[in-house]
């Protein structure tokens, strides 16, 4: 019984040790601050707070609110990352600079789809060999399918920014959309 009690106390000490260290270091930091200096840093934004918790290899990349909190399009456009388009050779992908507006039946803004952004990463066949029809307006798309991992949901929801990030795609005001 005494042994058990001793073990319990030891376990409690082990558990509380890191908390105690953290508290002590916080206190010592407070003591070390000179009284005359008034530091009033702005409260970090939710995005910034999330970014600070990212993995080491993602530090310094432009922030985003969803997914892995990195705006990969911006990272590539600004040269923060320079991903290769081939295993070993220097090959430029054939980029198609063509935006299309995908009309939305419900009340959300319409979708602006950038072929340019997507063809900087993938060839045509990745999307147009089963996922989407070539002819504009003929693909059967729905949010329900995307949630189930179809249509855009093949990537957007598992790897690319998730569909919760509505405005990244739904950004063409309904009144401005093409007929």
């Amino acid at each position: 019984m005494r042994l058990r009690r001793r073990f319990t106390i030891t376990a409690m000490i082990i558990a509380l040790f890191p908390l105690a260290c953290a508290t002590i270091s916080e206190q010592s930091e407070q003591v070390a601050k000179p009284a005359t200096v008034r530091l009033e840093p702005k409260a970090p934004s939710p995005v910034a707070a999330e970014v600070s918790s990212r993995a080491d290899h993602l530090q310094g990349l432009p922030p985003a609110e969803y997914g892995n909190r990195v705006d990969w399009v911006q990272a590539q456009e600004t040269g923060k990352i320079e991903p290769k388009g081939d295993i070993s050779a220097e090959v430029e992908l054939e980029v198609l600079d063509m935006d299309i507006v995908i009309p939305v039946k419900a009340s959300m803004d319409h979708v602006l789809f950038s072929h340019k952004i997507h063809t900087q990463l993938l060839g045509c066949e990745s999307c147009h060999a089963g996922l989407f029809e070539m002819e504009e307006g003929t693909s059967q798309m729905s949010k329900a399918k995307m949630v189930a991992g179809e249509n855009c949901g093949v990537c957007h929801g598992s790897v690319a920014f998730p569909i919760e990030d509505c405005k990244r795609c739904h950004n063409v005001p309904r009144e401005e959309a093409r007929p």
């Binding site: 058990r4 073990f7 319990t8 376990a11 409690m12 082990i14 558990a15 509380l16 890191p18 908390l19 953290a22 990212r54 993995a55 290899h57 993602l58 997914g67 892995n68 909190r69 990195v70 990969w72 990352i81 991903p83 290769k84 388009g85 081939d86 295993i87 070993s88 992908l93 900087q120 990463l121 993938l122 060839g123 066949e125 990745s126 991992g149 093949v154 990537c155 598992s158 790897v159 998730p162």
Partner: protein, 111 residues
């Protein structure tokens, strides 16, 4: 009873205080044959690879299917230069010799 509860409490508190490594959005757990071979599943980080290569390199040139679980990846194929072996061959990227670098998931309890 008190003994078990206190140990559980201690472990929980320790884990909370110290912090644990956790996955991130885009990580894929690949478990085809690893578990039956006594290894943990592979934890693949998309973001780590995305920094160096565009999507087409793996999903078109190396023919990885887009859907998780759709690729029949084996160590033999990797050694033959397929799938991960397209880069992880000791020339472009480290060869498949440091098992735990990729097989970072916990093996099942039965092993």
């Amino acid at each position: 009873m008190h003994y078990s509860v206190s140990v559980l409490f201690a472990v929980t508190l320790w884990a909370t205080a110290v912090g644990q490594a956790c996955g991130e959005y885009g990580d894929i757990v690949i478990e085809n044959y690893a578990d039956q071979s006594g290894y943990g599943p592979v934890v693949f980080s998309h973001s780590l690879h995305r920094i160096h290569y565009r999507c087409n390199v793996c999903h078109e040139q190396l023919e990885f299917e887009m859907r998780a679980g759709a690729n029949d990846i084996t160590m033999v194929k990797i050694a033959d230069g397929e799938f991960c072996g397209g880069c992880h061959n000791g020339q472009i990227a480290p060869g498949p010799v440091l098992c735990a670098s990729c097989h970072a998931g916990a093996p099942s309890a039965e092993q």
